[in-house]
């Protein structure tokens, strides 16, 4: 992105600013307002989901059953996952897309502003419904977020509420994704060709297609669960000619592209940040685009690697094993490009860069354990152990979440007009990184030694590593309070940010004033 820019002045005189009062937030059609709503919502859910994680880790601090009863423990593991996936990572990404995509491509707003409002505002309703199941007869969902039947069908009164809340979240994601696709295809500034788009826009473009393709499949799968429970269908009942394993196939046809939905936008964020703080252009821009597309395409043909132990023909095991390992190739291209971007760069290490570097290193650790899990023969040993938990938490926490945090630090001066507290930001990074490794690294060892996941008790030989992990969990959880302090301080005031904010930053968003005006690019800039 080395676009020469012209015509970036703003004519806000004929436009109203935000409406006064609280109703502004309820009725808003402004992409920045809606992006802000998404991001605050995601932060709130991060603490709710994190609180559940701390309940899990408290129970697992020592062997034996001491704090919660096993049924409640199962509800916590299930809800923690559902909230973190659908309530934290996805809304945060959509919030960042709302804020940044229009101003990165020189668009006046999102393409479908009213639908944009709706796709956010059904989320609080959906999550209220989902969380309310915890207080119903039989409690919340306790069969794991994957909702495998027949176990998931044995839930209490909460079951239909859970299913409908998933429908609502799915509707929200599909509307959000359609909006992003329409914005990118229709509202790019003149001269902003596809191969000039910033990588964050590219990765979100591809993510949006994944969302549109697989969220309806999840809706279909949970609808079949609902009819199996209440209307006597036999999709997942062998006695009627169906098969519980069929659910797993349909679910993971959604589920595997879903895990890329949870990481691709972070790839884009890191691809924005590393060039800025290396003061070099991104190495291999085109190969980044092709690698992201390849990952997305491959994600549709690897789903059964989640089910190697379920009983599959050998040809299936082999196909899904090799297809999965193939994903390591485009992922390797990306990691190589990030490292090559830094090579001989004039690097500085502000907080966004620290989180981006943490991302590259720790996501790669999660990527390597992913390749191990892709090997069908050894997966028979690893399946459903803490090794799996370690793997996907490495790609999701120091992966996806670190990407989101990096994005917030990177762009918050543009959002608020103020610099965040650099010292606190750096402290936030270092305590988060130390504790997140303390939390998840020992899980590799207990997992390889055979500790099963989703069980509230464990054999005594796993006690030390579990105690360490719990200390890491509390440390990581509480260090996020620093993040909230930094955010609030930055919203309230602080050193004024320049328009450019970062010395090496390039792209349309940095041509806007800080804070970005309520309506930007009403007159589109010309990108050369």
């Amino acid at each position: 992105m080395n676009a020469a820019l012209t015509d970036t002045d703003h004519h806000d005189d004929h436009h109203h600013g935000p409406a006064p009062g609280l109703m502004r937030w309820v009725t808003t059609t402004n992409h920045k307002d809606i992006g802000t709503l998404y991001l605050w919502f995601s932060l709130l859910m991060f603490f709710i989901g994190g609180f559940m994680a701390l309940i899990i880790r408290t129970e697992l601090f020592q062997p034996g059953l001491q704090v919660v009863d096993p049924h409640f423990f199962n509800q916590m593991t299930t809800m923690h996952a559902l909230i973190m996936i659908f309530g934290v990572v996805m809304p945060a990404f959509v919030g960042l897309a709302n804020w940044m995509v229009p101003i990165m491509i020189g668009a006046p707003d999102m393409a479908l502003p009213r639908m944009n409002n709706w796709s956010f505002w059904i989320l609080p309703f959906g999550f209220t419904m989902m969380l309310s199941t915890l207080f119903m007869d039989g409690g919340g969902p306790a069969g794991g977020w994957t909702l495998y039947p027949p176990l998931s069908l044995q839930g209490g009164d909460g079951f239909p509420f859970l299913i409908f809340s998933i429908h609502i979240l799915g509707i929200s994601s599909i509307m959000g994704a359609i909006n992003i696709v329409a914005t990118i295809m229709n509202l790019r500034a003149p001269g902003m060709t596809f191969m000039k788009m910033p990588l964050f826009v590219w990765t979100w473009f591809i993510t949006a297609y994944l969302l549109i393709a697989v969220m309806p499949v999840l809706a279909g799968a949970v609808t079949m669960l609902l009819t199996d429970k209440f209307f006597g269908t036999a999709f997942f009942t062998a006695a009627g000619g169906g098969d519980p394993v069929m659910f797993q196939h349909i679910f993971w046809f959604f589920g595997h592209p879903e895990v890329y939905i949870l990481i691709l936008p972070s790839f884009g964020i890191v691809s924005e940040i590393i060039p800025t703080f290396s003061r070099k252009r991104l190495f291999g821009y085109a190969s980044m685009v092709y690698a992201t597309s390849s990952i997305a395409l491959l994600s549709f043909i690897v789903w059964a690697h989640h089910m190697f132990t379920v009983g599959m023909p050998l040809s299936g095991e082999l196909f899904f094993m090799f297809a999965t390992m193939l994903i390591a190739v485009p992922t390797g291209v990306k990691v190589f490009n990030w490292v090559a971007t830094m090579w001989r760069g004039a690097m500085t290490f502000e907080t966004p860069m620290l989180f981006a570097l943490g991302f590259v290193i720790m996501f790669t650790i999660g990527g390597f354990s992913g390749v191990m899990l892709a090997l069908a023969p050894v997966d028979f040993q690893y399946h459903d152990t803490y090794f799996v938990v370690a793997h996907f938490h490495y790609v999701l926490v120091p992966g996806a979440i670190f990407g989101i945090i990096a994005a917030v630090y990177y762009w918050i001066p543009k959002w608020t007009g103020n610099m965040y507290d650099e010292k606190l930001g750096k402290i936030h990074f270092w305590v988060s990184t130390i504790f997140v490794n303390l939390l998840f690294f020992p899980m590799h060892f207990v997992g390889l030694a055979g500790m099963p996941r989703r069980i509230p008790d464990y054999a005594v030989q796993f006690a030390d590593f579990n105690a360490i992990a719990t200390i890491g969990a509390f440390g990581f959880g509480f260090s996020q309070i620093i993040f909230v302090v930094v955010l609030l301080k930055c919203v309230k005031g602080g050193e004024k940010a320049t328009d450019q904010v970062w010395e090496g930053a390039e792209g349309l968003e940095w041509t806007l004033p800080s804070p970005a005006p309520y309506h930007s690019f009403t007159d589109q800039p010309e990108v050369k």
């Binding site: 015509d7 109203h16 409406a19 009725t27 808003t28 059609t29 402004n30 707003d109 502003p113 009213r114 639908m115 709706w118 505002w121 059904i122 609080p124 309703f125 959906g126 209220t128 419904m129 009164d157 239909p160 409908f164 809340s165 609502i168 599909i174 359609i178 909006n179 696709v181 329409a182 295809m185 229709n186 003149p190 549109i212 393709a213 309806p216 499949v217 809706a219 279909g220 799968a221 079949m224 209307f231 006597g232 269908t233 036999a234 999709f235 009942t237 062998a238 006695a239 009627g240 000619g241 169906g242 098969d243 069929m246 349909i250 046809f253 309506h519 009403t522 007159d523 589109q524 010309e526």
Partner: protein
Amino acid sequence: MASTAENHYYVPEGAYWPLVGSVGLATTTGGLAAWLNESSLGQPIFYVGMAILVIMMFGWFGTVIRESESGQYRPWEDKSFRLGMSWFIFSEVMFFAAFFGALFYARVYSVPWILGEGAGANTHEWLWSSFTEIWPTNGPADMGGSDFHMGWWPLPFLNTAILLTSGVTVTIAHHAVIKNDRTRFILGLAATVALGFIFVYFQMVEYQEAYHEGMTLQSGIYGSTFFMLTGFHGFHVSMGAIILLVVLIRAIRGHFTPTRHFAFEAAAWYWHFVDVVWLGLFIFVYIL
């Protein structure tokens, strides 16, 4: 082609309808969930929610129609609507794909495996050695009683002809609106709507026959896939026919011009989509 002040993308000011829609959606699904839990409040809450959703649609779509008729939308905005509708239809295709996937999986894998095919598993031998049905089947436990094959003759075949004809009539209407032949446009639309509702009527007749013979949603995997696939399709045909009906009313009121008629085209795309899904159903559910 830098935009000028007269050429700004239309960004509407504050909107209340999405909030109404959120409340409606939560009320509808919450009511339905309570109803499924056999709470006496569930049913009324569900109907209240549906009413809110209908009000929302009248209000929201009404706003959009007024904006369109007052000339707020130019080709730039029009393209966003087109993109939105196409990708919405794609998401619908993927929704049906989940149920087609279930059908194929059952026929290619799960039923043959229960019959003893494949290596390693002795389920057939030990659990259901007397089970011999291939397809259609309601499973080794004979779930839901009787099972029989829903033949493709005569009603489904007739319905195929009806839906294909409606695809032709909607295309006639499209050509007519481009040529500004209002009578032909309205007649083509009216014929399409009528054929759509006739299709739904025949589907209901077929369902009644099936239930009369004991082939129900509970009839094992065959009943499940048959009624869920054709049921969701029938629901989409009904929605499509209602959308076309709204377009017809607008056409009678003089909306749409030879160059600006996106709502009509969106409805027509949707109609072709339910048409294509039906062809898939006709082949894979009825014939094969």
